[in-house]
Amino acid sequence: MHEKMNAKMEAREINFYYGAVRALKNINMSITGNTVTAIIGPSGCGKSTFIRLLNRMHELVAGSRVEGHVYLDGKDILDPTIDAVDVRRSVGMVFQKPNPFPKTIFENISYGLTVNNVRDKDYIEAKVVESLKKAALWDEVKDRLKDNALRLSGGQQQRLCIARCLAVGPEVLLFDEPCASLDPISTGKIEELMLELKKNYTIVIVTHNMQQAARVSDTTGFFLMGELIEFGKTQDIFTAPKNKQTEAYITGRFG
């Protein structure tokens, strides 16, 4: 057991390999509960690799290998005796491209419950409504729950994916560039939503948008070529970065 005050999640000495290629080098990061942590860095630096590791989604990639520990409430979730399915129910993930299932809005959200063997219809219904409300989508879809989810706009689809994730009852939410395919208005809605969700969840978000990182996050980590170059309070990173490379990146002087 590994205990640390206030750290909801903690990555310890993480090395990650795609076959022989080392994609993450000795990463240590401590994520405080009920905060938003932004992960920034140039393309290919390992941001997605890192957050996918936090709920063991990396296991979908054949030939990948991880060393080190990731603690959730002090428990090592990379431990092979722990079921990845349980980890993913506690640590949810929303992807870059909204990926609702080709089913109705209702079914999209109830899916996560039914795979968890929830059968109580009333409970499911209540949970669907609750999740849609939490994801700030309820007012827009309450009259069309039986519509195919693919008919929603991109921004609505992304909030549906968030609702779907919330319905399972996670404690941590991972967002991998959730606004990359959205217009500014939808992006604004998602950012607002994150600030709201932070009250009850711990959030980690990968973003290429510096303003977004500055607006929504409390803590920021800057990755470069598989290394965590700088990690600290967002305010400090954006106003007084300690590292030259961090400064170059956030001011846009970086390739």
Binding site: D86, R88, R89, F95, F101, N116, C165
Partner: protein
């Protein structure tokens, strides 16, 4: 100038090929219709389709093809019952579960199965399967519908597996990721997300597999026993539409009612195959 001329010639040649193939199909169809429909000068359509006895060379000839239709249906049904679950299971295994090497080996095996000529399958069935069926079920002969169904299942399997597998691959990877991220197990993901998302392609796979079975001739002729009586189950000898044409066309006198009746059976087979292919096509396009 010369280049333009070349282009022109090539273009026209291709056009000609296209037109020719359409004309051939049309000619075949017209010929089939003309010969086949002539049978109804001798027998009413109702008697032909629902007649219970097929004695084409007795005097007077009895041209009821119900036993043949039922023979085809029984064999096809049996083959579908065997090949659809196994074929789909195999497709899911290849597309989702099998590790790299196993996948390649399996795919190779399936392709090999598709490459075995049907007469060879029929022959193998004759010497291995027929005695087996006879012994297992204590029958007087192993030349039964069941033997035919099993061999036909082998023929339908490659079609079903490869098309269903393509359909599964065509499901966006993001669906799978989405399901996994919600804490679904691999099996829940396959059953509740991947298979439904691939359903139209899978229906097409099944239809095309069945289409292959209905049109198959050689193997069924060799091992179903070829008795044109109304079958009451798969453990009896029976005879299919296709086997009837193949077995009797050689001895039918050109222009006789028997001859026309065989063509009429051809029309029926044509209609069935056409309907199956169109349905499969509809599902495949819905998929896109």
């Amino acid at each position: 100038m010369l280049r333009k001329f070349k282009e022109f010639v090539i273009e026209k040649l291709i056009l000609l090929c296209g037109i020719a193939s359409v004309i051939f199909v049309a000619l075949i169809f017209v010929f089939l219709l003309k010969e086949g429909l002539s049978v109804f000068k001798f027998v009413r359509i109702g008697e032909f389709l629902a007649g219970r006895s097929w004695y084409p060379i007795s005097e007077p000839a009895q041209l009821g093809i119900l036993p043949l239709i039922l023979g085809s249906l029984w064999v096809t049904f049996g083959a579908a019952v065997i090949s659809v679950p196994i074929g789909l299971g195999c497709a899911v295994y290849i597309a989702e579960i099998a590790p790299g090497r196993t996948k390649e080996v399996l795919k190779g095996g399936i392709e090999l199965l598709a490459a075995i000529p049907s007469v060879v399958l029929g022959f193998i069935g004759m010497v291995t399967l027929v005695p087996l069926v006879k012994n297992v079920f204590h029958l007087s002969t192993g030349l039964t519908g069941l033997s035919g169904s099993i061999i036909l299942a082998f023929m339908a399997m490659p079609t079903i597996v490869s098309i269903a597998e393509d359909a599964l691959y065509a499901v966006p990877k993001s669906y799978k990721e989405g399901a996994f991220a919600l804490g679904a197990t691999h099996w829940q993901t396959i059953w509740r997300v991947l298979l439904p998302a691939a359903s139209s392609g899978i229906v097409a796979a099944v239809m095309l597999g069945i289409g292959r079975v209905i049109g198959e001739t050689m193997a069924v002729m060799m091992i179903t026993g070829n008795s044109a009586v109304i079958p009451r189950g798969l453990l009896e000898p029976l005879r299919t539409l296709t086997a009837t044409i193949a077995a009797e066309m050689g001895e039918a006198v050109v222009g006789s009612e028997h001859y026309f009746a065989l063509f009429a059976i051809g029309i029926i087979l044509f209609i069935i195959s056409f309907a199956i292919n169109v349905t499969a096509d509809l599902f495949l396009h819905k998929h896109k």
